[in-house]
Symmetry: C2
Subunit: 791 residues, 2 copies
């Protein structure tokens, strides 16, 4: 199976704004993604698609052949022949040969194949029998619509007598009503359905749903077909009866499996080409579709500006043409912005996700982060408690995991707030008046945060450790403390770190808030107390335990055969300052020994292979997946961030680089380096055959922290009290780094080099300065910053 590096290097390519794959079979799960304000489409390189739009709850308009369960997005979803997809069958009418672009469902090997993820489009170039087919898809600007352009070019010396058949899955929409047919008034296929319901109240609630699916054609097709069964015949999707026939049958699907299929017959002269446009998406009714048609098409052309471009303006651009730089410049901010824009396709994002995703948005659109903080605080209870999820609309409800009580929601507030203040110096937020969920009393933000911290401080046991209830950051760890006694070492450390962050907020941004010196002194004392208590009760042997169960049993310790060591308490002990120097190197050693793998650092090890009733649901997840010992990148990035804080730059950088596929492991990971997945399979020592496999899931708290690591730590260009604190943390592997950093409206051109001195040297606009802070930064001004760091 293993190919040599040269073959692999030609397999994929990263350039500015483009990640390319040159085989439809080498990475069958590889995918790209596009999003706009309203929808996400993840497109498999072979033509399968997953698209969801918000109405405001997430919904689909292209379905599989069964009624699917409504669930949140799941990892490691597989494809199968009838999985929803977007295909273009191609037939040579003279030779009768058929194929499909990009590859599914015919699976005929093309003579050339290129899948190209760009920031605002995905593009295929596929050649079959000397016809080059270029397919480009973008999302519409203001609508839930996929915009497709297909160009056929005859690259042979003879005329080609062809039929092209765009084929878009509709699937099983509803058991109440489903129908699909070609509608001349919209020049396209209209698939109607009614979301199944039985309760009268749902009739009213469902009226606004976009239950129609449309496929609009720029050019009226010669023939069409909507009845899937009749289309397939005995040949199935790979070799459909009606593709082999002269023409499609113009059959409606009437309460039967549906597909949107059109046929264009064309004769392409040698060297000539022809293009077709299509739009595919959901709508409430025919009138809305007619309006969409006007908005999207202009005669035979797509209207200019119809396509969405995220136009992300991140605060950092690195110079260079390596994979790493392209990832940091393009794909990382794109993924951060996806989280900020679509809130993981939910109307009730988990509070911890919502706040952490906003850390990333600091570097793209800090106004967003401000809104996130204010909205979150407006849903806090008067007693300080933050809810498990933040409702984004009036109609939203806490669903799924947000119906389970977790203990960590509060601690993310000061962490996100500090990050926001560091980047913006917008101290006004501290005095913003915000009500509570259960009290209209307008209360300044800083008091909200104080209440939040007090609340968690009060949720501690007699030892002074934080009660975990039915989970903390690790939400499936639901049975450690469900009886009300179990505690979390991680949460205790995270609380200490949150208080440290709050102290930094006060010191750097809130002088006017401090009512007495005692406040700061008490806060510092609380941090020390928490760290002391965790060291007293939770340091066992050579690392920190993960907590103490309801039955007073320390877990995540050497005597545990499974779940012996967890990553998070180690990382956060570094952040909170609990780990003394001796502890620090002992635990780093254990992480390296027990958790590190070629694909990253595992979240725990060994993965649980059987249920542990005093830990809970986590131990029922499949070993090596998700929280049960995968390389869970969100936990890994905490670790990297902590490593930066203690000066372990090389290790930090290693953790980060392992988050992306590389030439040597891309086939194992199975994805392109266009996003960081929430996890790679772990359980490396237990199930090595599966270790490293990507979950293919875009949603992850990783990217916000990673972006922070890159900007503030690796490049060392971090805000602090309105100044730029310069402290690059280059690993051995990086000799120099240069680029452009936007900070508080100023444009900073920076270059970082290593020198033989033992301290940092800065020149600003050619002037050497002392210290490592750039003060008095002017909005709109430009700065040339040359940095030399000790080798």
């Amino acid at each position: 199976m293993a190919k040599d590096n040269q073959v692999l290097q030609s397999l994929y390519q990263i350039k500015k704004g483009s990640v390319r794959l040159s085989s439809p079979t080498a990475l069958p799960m590889a995918s790209g993604y596009l999003y706009n304000q309203n929808m996400l489409m993840q497109l498999n390189c072979r033509g399968y698609a997953r698209a969801q739009f918000m109405q405001p709850e997430p919904a689909k308009y292209s379905h599989g052949p069964t009624l699917e369960a409504k669930t949140f997005i799941q990892p490691e979803q597989s494809f199968y022949k009838h999985h929803p997809g977007r295909f273009f069958y191609l037939k040579n009418k003279d030779t009768k040969q058929i194929a499909s672009v990009p590859y599914e469902p015919c699976r005929v090997a093309p003579s050339k194949y290129m899948f190209d993820q760009q920031l605002d489009q995905i593009r295929w170039e596929v050649v079959y029998q000397q016809v080059k087919v270029t397919v480009v898809v973008q999302l519409a600007n203001e609508y839930s619509a996929e915009l497709w352009q297909v160009t056929l070019k005859n690259i042979s010396k003879a005329d080609a007598n062809l039929s092209l058949y765009p084929c878009f899955s509709i699937g099983y929409q509803s058991w109440m009503y489903r129908e699909a047919y070609y509608d001349e008034t919209i020049q396209g296929v209209l698939a109607k359905s009614i979301t199944p319901y039985q309760r009268l109240e749902d009739y009213y609630a469902n009226q606004s749903l976009k239950d129609c699916t449309y496929l609009l054609a720029g050019t009226a097709p010669d023939y069409w077909q909507c009845d899937l069964t009749s289309f397939e015949g005995e040949g199935g999707l790979s070799s459909p009866a009606q593709i082999h026939a002269e023409r499609l049958n113009n059959q409606a699907a009437r309460y039967e499996d549906s597909i949107a299929l059109m046929q264009y017959d064309l004769v392409l002269k040698a060297g000539s080409q022809k293009s077709y446009c299509f739009a595919f998406g959901p709508a409430n009714n025919s009138d809305e579709i007619a309006q969409l048609r006007t908005a999207i098409f202009n005669g035979e052309q797509f209207r200019k500006g119809a396509a969405f471009s995220a136009q992300v303006k991140p605060v950092l651009k690195l110079q260079g043409d390596d994979e790493f730089q392209h990832f940091i410049n393009d794909w990382l901010p794109n993924q951060v912005n996806y989280h900020g824009t679509l809130n993981r396709l939910t109307t009730d994002p988990q509070t911890r996700n919502y706040l952490q995703d906003a850390i990333g948005m600091n570097f793209i659109k800090p106004g967003h982060t401000r809104n996130v903080l204010l909205r979150s605080l407006s849903q806090q209870r008067k007693n300080g408690e933050m809810p498990d999820g933040i409702l984004l609309s009036e109609a939203a409800e806490l669903k799924y995991i947000n119906q389970v009580p977790h203990a960590d929601a509060n601690i993310w507030l000061p962490i996100t707030l500090l990050s926001y203040l560091n980047e913006t110096n917008d101290t006004s937020i501290l005095d913003e008046l915000v009500p509570f969920a259960d009290d209209e009393l307008l209360t300044p933000v800083y008091q909200h945060v104080e209440l939040a911290l007090e609340y968690v401080l009060n949720q501690r046991d007699d030892r002074g450790l934080c009660l975990i209830y039915q989970g903390d950051w690790c939400d499936p760890m639901n049975m450690v403390g469900h009886k009300g006694k179990g505690v979390s070492s991680w949460l205790s450390l995270a609380l200490a770190y949150a208080i440290k962050s709050w102290i930094e907020v006060i010191e750097n941004y809130g002088g006017h808030l401090i009512q007495a010196v005692e406040t700061l002194s008490r806060l510092n004392q609380l941090v020390e107390e928490l760290n002391y208590t965790v060291n007293l009760y939770c340091w066992e042997g050579d690392w920190y335990a993960r907590g103490i169960t309801d039955d007073n049993k320390l877990f995540g310790v050497a005597e545990d055969v499974e779940g012996r060591i967890y990553l998070n308490p180690q990382s956060w002990a570094l952040l909170s300052g609990a780990a003394t120097v001796a502890k620090k190197y002992t635990l780093l050693n254990e992480v390296e020994r027990q958790l590190n793998t070629p694909f990253g650092v595992m979240m725990l090890a060994p993965s649980y292979t059987s249920f542990r009733e005093d830990v809970g649901r986590l131990t029922q997840k499949y070993p090596g997946t998700a929280e049960n010992g995968s390389v869970y990148n969100h936990a890994a990035i905490f670790y990297a961030y902590a490593l930066y804080q203690i000066g372990e730059y090389n290790q930090a950088y290693q953790v980060i680089t392992k988050m992306l596929p590389s030439v040597k492991d891309i086939e194992t990971r199975g994805q392109l380096p266009n996003f960081i997945p929430n996890y790679y399979r772990g359980a490396y020592f237990q199930f090595p055959s599966h270790a490293g496999r990507s979950s293919q899931m875009l949603n992850t708290g990783t990217v916000a922290w990673l972006y922070r690591c890159i900007v503030e730590e690796l490049c060392g260009l971090k805000g602090g009290a309105g100044q730029l604190v310069v402290e690059p943390k280059l690993p051995d592997a990086i000799e120099h780094l240069s680029g452009q950093r936007n900070f508080m409206g100023a444009n900073i051109e920076f270059s970082i080099e290593k020198h033989t001195g033992d301290s940092i040297k800065l020149t600003v606009n050619g002037q050497e300065i002392t210290g490592n802070r750039i003060t008095d930064i002017e909005k709109g001004a430009s700065y040339q910053l040359k940095i030399k760091v000790p080798r």
Copy 2:
């Protein structure tokens, strides 16, 4: 498409205990079904399968490739390549040719094909390349297990070098945990999963779930495979990479799509044969599977008696070898018994279904009907109200449609009760003491029924018509009366008929119950009042309207462009006696003109093609499906039953015969005559292309009433006050009918012939008797009954 009758006649065959199909492509949706006390399996003729078992809620153990929505059984479910199935790949190792038995997923045309539904097994005989493969499946006796036997016979003159690969779908079980591998200790594939959950309480609730799927092998396989993706390769299920390879790879599926696959290599000498056995099903854990293995297998053989046989002992056996007789003898009681045994695979059957299904069980196992009545009454409220569903276990809850208030539940009580008493003369039931749901006071059955009728009588409007609330028998008719004013003509008529039934109970079985002559007189007066009121307000033009909406609008009338005429009020006006002679023939004429089709009588016409807000959800169902104007057999059988009551034997018989596919329309209907589906597509005048297509759904109130029609009306051998009332109702098409009827423990051999006289003539054991009642029937005795009816 249309074949001539001869071809079609050879396509399928009905014999005693057997319905056969000789093509895998002519009726691709044709299926058979098997059930035991705990599960139902509906098996498509090409190898796809739908199986559900009760734990106690319905569940699956063989899944599709996506997480399916939990929903009740839906009509017109389609198949697709990866639909759950049971396949046997066959490879000739010399020629390298592959095929699959019975037909999917390879779809290679066999040289011979036979699908054979028998009462306790389904059997295929398929020949590929001179290897005859016989596959037999039964269900286990006491477990949720499919028992498979496969026999390969070499019918060529040369030795055959073969590989056989049983291939059973496991699919996407869970996003928490899924794994499948071959386990030597059970000699089979073990697929483990954990039903996804997030709430702590569900952990406890889910512990008893049978989340494992097993495929046990009688003979240890040579190789095995559980990772579906690797199995398929680029060839897909139709031409899997690992079938083309020398051997399966012995790969476990670890949190990836799973399949249970085994490989047996064998050399079959010319003329010789070899058999293999397998068991497939759900279990809670490995220990349970080990026990199942012991119970099912005995060495290499299936243990004798392991297979379930329903052993239905119906009260009627007809003589003859026609399709009709075989259906009445075998398939009708089998389908009735399925309903009685499995309660439509729910733990909260709708009250109307539960009680009507029990009408059918009167003729098979009357003790069941007795239990149904007593259980139902024990869930009645003290005020007389029956709940919308009957809970079958302590843990059961009212779900889905049972959370919507319907107005008709009560009226089925006296109807089922009368039917039970007619068949059994078990008057003791009337005095059985039963508590209420909300009152432990033990109260005799007859008072329960009185309260039930009083309750409905009190739910009438000022006119005296029955309020419909959010539906009646027609449960999606939810917006006629949701504001509390709308009324149902059907329910008013059904109440009159229910009271008539109650009067008959009192007169024939409950002399001691009548406290005063006034009771009967009042009841008779109520019937007259109801009939009068319906005639006054709901007869409009030439037929009965369906009701009056909240806004006082009569609907189901000539001025309605859609939903102009409904079948049920016409049928029940015949039953209740509301229809005068003039009305009777007028409405029969309109039913014939507007509702009759070659595939049966439609429930309403024209089908609604757009939403009507004062009728409701019914009008959102797809036109021609289910309650929106299909040939809904349950409504059709009410009509047939009513036709018998008014002496329209020919029409009644026509309605009944249209419930089954026949040579001339079997391709349109798309199913075999082994069951009556809940509907055939209607909207005959609107969408003729789809009219007649079977819903393929076994669950239907039709069969209970049909069995009653056959026994009591067509054969005219009906019980009444402990006597057998003889009144056959032969249509012109039937000259004579003979068979055996069991009544109250006596065995009655009967023959019915037509004569030229104008009244019925009976001889019992050679003695002519006067009148048409056979009295003093002795349990265990035999009677020879010769009946002559006027031509």
